[in-house]
Amino acid sequence: MSARSIRGVAAAALATTLALGAAACSTPSDGTGAAGPKDSAVVGIAYEPDSLSPLLGYGKDGNSKIFDGLLTHDADMKLEPALAAKLPEISDDGRTYTYTLRKGVEFSDGKPFTADDVVFTYRTILDAKTNNASKAELDAIRSVEKKDDHTVVFHLKYPYAPFAERTVLPIAPEHIAGKQDVNNGSFTTHPVGTGPYVLTRWSKGEKLTFKANPHYWGGAPEVKNFTMAIIKDDDVRATRLRSGDLDGAILPPNLAAAFKSAQDKKTYTAKTFDYRNVTLPSANPVTGAKAVRRALDLAVDRDAMVKGILNGAGKPAYGPVPTDSPWFAKGTERPHDLKQAERILDDAGWKKGPDGIRKKGGQRASFTLWYLSGDKLRQEHALAFASDAKKAGIEAKVESGTWEVIEPRMKHDAVLAGGGSPADPDFDQYLLLHSSLAGDGFNNMSRYRNEKIDRALVDARRTDDHDRRKAGYDTVQRALEKDPAYIFLTHIDHLYVVDDKWRVPGEKGLTTQVEPHDHGLASGPWWNVEDWQPKK
């Protein structure tokens, strides 16, 4: 056959290919349902849980959509009953907590919820064979027992005032989770709980889809379908929000700013306990020197960091407690004061050398500061800290690495760390400061030892008298001013942009809680998605 007909064959082949492509292109894109039904919500989040089993730590800070805890937090982070019928009765010595359970609650498979499920959940978490990395949070428990079908009693090893805060952790059904391997069984991916939503599908790395639990004891939610899309990249999340694929998303400050003028979207700023600080290892001759710590604490320009790094979405931090928390000790704010910092160093004998870096008895005022590679926010904090320190004559050599690289060096090198847990002041401060936890994993990374602080921390956790607790934490914060354990830099606001088509009863729009360091699944304006109603 002639060349012409070969060309014909080729043309046909090409045309088919193009037609296939064109057909694909002309397929209507139904992903852009901005004006979609109001009973569905799709939100974009940056993190994915490893497991959905409360026994392995999922939802331990409360607010899981699939499960309920004995207690839960309201918008102001106050404890209120959930699976418990009321707040617990606490014995006078503070060592016995009695919970009366709500009656008539069912798991989403129709089986009743009883005291057995509560006892099973706590006992399993505390079992050494359970791979739960957060079980130390329940350290205070000596035993948990069922008194009758609707009463559970916790006995503590020592009086622990914030214990009730720990009982927000979700309750798992014994009749399902008790019959399989706790670490790898199907319950870890196909959870069944008492919560407002039922998981319909978890496509790992892609999304979690939920449908409303029509038999929820708190009333069936109006948002019937709820999807959490896992999108790690900030820019992709912003793009998919703009295209209408998402109804809401968490965004970094610079990307959230682009939605400020959008008519149909609202930006929510969640206050947090999420701090960034610099550890000051006591074994290092430079960061271990009290004068250096005090000087650094005064030399850092926190306001400039909030403005420059956070675009104003945050506030200066002087300790783990944010300045607007009722637990903050008023008057411990330290304004940026380079002159005073230099004076302290001069008085302590740290003299400036020819290169501008101070020296004392042959020891150069220089140390290494690590940050987690790939974390832009930590990088910027580390660089800003180093530049402020240099002005006072102290050199911080900034390096980046993964935790595997950083961890073996934590004893001698400083680390740009982060954390924060709003439920109780004990949670952050005890782990960060108590000398018994010096160098225990990632707790007390500075290996800080201060007897006065140790005593105040223990006093404050063993009493439930509010004034005595407040006095204890005031003592801690004032002691830190004189001998800083870490240089706290900022508390970071979390920003969310959400379509303006829902509201929460009694509010103009949606609400946010005070958030922890972790960007859990249930942070953000969707912390109470079960209460959302379509905007009229």
Partner: protein, 318 residues
């Protein structure tokens, strides 16, 4: 031949799995840290040590490998620490999607590559040939994930005609065939395009050489039509190297799929592989490596068999 090849595969697979365990053990990553995640940052050392014991990663390398091997032989692939599920379940849930993606991409790459290659060979040195060859060389150098990002930018962001990722629409909870078809299109095309250059260039070379060989010249001189010459004679011998290529492209296809799946959040085996590697998840990593190795071995076996069928001169047990 098949039986002997299968026997040979045994030591290869053993060596590969042991290699995986040895390399992972030598890596600085700590499986317990990876397992605990953010909670590990506040966990007590005692707690972490207990998890280390529970996961069995405090055992010596040889013991861990032997445990895994004996378990695998009895059908128990162990539990994946990073995905908190039995390895067989992880693979079962994901393998199908990866096979779908790879098979589509492979078929498109082979068919399109052959068509383009034959046409380029027919008019060797011409305008079409130069364009196709040039493009093929350029594509050969382009990494699949870069092509993927480019495709997302063009089709999903600029034109807005195809979804940027996932298996189904974000808001939908069920996986319908139509949705999957729309979502598989972009990743499959990117994967196909990344494999295309090798097929185009090999076919072009093979058919071009065949056109200059004696049998073809003989056929021409006997007055056979050009089409018959090209399709019956030249293509037949020109496709022989392509058959070998099909087998040897399998590993490339697997690594390509790894990157493409990551770019498009395709819930295939690739995401699990990446996670297994970065969290030193021995059981999952070993099982996936065995799977990939087996795919390569089968690919090579297949191409040899095809070669034998296509060219009777090739003895099966030569």
């Amino acid at each position: 031949m098949t039986g002997r090849r299968a026997l040979l595969a045994v030591p290869v697979l053993l060596a590969v799995t042991f290699g995986v365990f040895a390399i992972a053990a030598a890596s600085p990553f700590d499986p317990v840290k990876a397992y605990a995640g953010a909670a590990g940052l506040t966990a007590s050392q005692e707690n972490l040590d207990q998890i280390r014991h529970n996961l069995g990663v405090d055992q010596p390398l040889l013991a861990r490998w032997w445990d895994w091997l004996t378990g695998a032989l009895t059908g128990d692939l162990g539990d994946s620490a990073s995905l908190r599920a039995p390895v067989s379940q992880v693979i079962g849930e994901r393998l199908g999607w990866s096979v779908l993606l790879c098979a589509l991409a492979f078929v498109v790459a082979v068919l399109l590559g052959t068509v383009l290659g034959v046409l380029a060979a027919r008019w060797r040195g011409g305008m079409f040939d130069r364009t196709v060859t040039g493009a093929a060389y350029a594509l050969e150098a382009a990494p699949p994930f870069w092509l993927g990002l480019l495709a997302v930018w063009l089709f999903a962001l600029k034109l807005g005609v195809l979804p940027a990722g996932g298996l189904t629409d974000t808001g939908s909870s069920t996986a319908t065939a139509g949705q999957i078809a729309r979502h598989v299109l972009l990743p499959a095309l990117v994967l196909a395009v990344s494999q295309l250059p090798w097929f185009v260039l090999y076919v072009r070379q093979g058919v071009g050489d065949a056109l200059a060989e004696d049998p073809v010249r003989g056929a021409r001189s006997r007055g056979l039509r050009e089409r018959t010459v090209l399709l019956q004679h030249a293509l037949r011998s020109g496709l022989l190297p392509v058959l070998t290529l099909i087998g040897s492209r399998v590993p490339e296809l697997i690594t390509g799929a790894l990157l493409v799946e990551t770019v498009f959040s395709w819930p295939g085996i690739a995401a699990a592989t990446v996670q297994a590697a970065t969290s030193v998840d021995f059981p999952l990593l070993a099982a996936l490596t065995v799977l990939a190795t087996a795919a390569v071995l089968v690919g090579n076996l297949l191409s040899d068999l095809l070669y034998g069928l296509a060219d009777p001169r090739v003895a099966f047990d030569g």
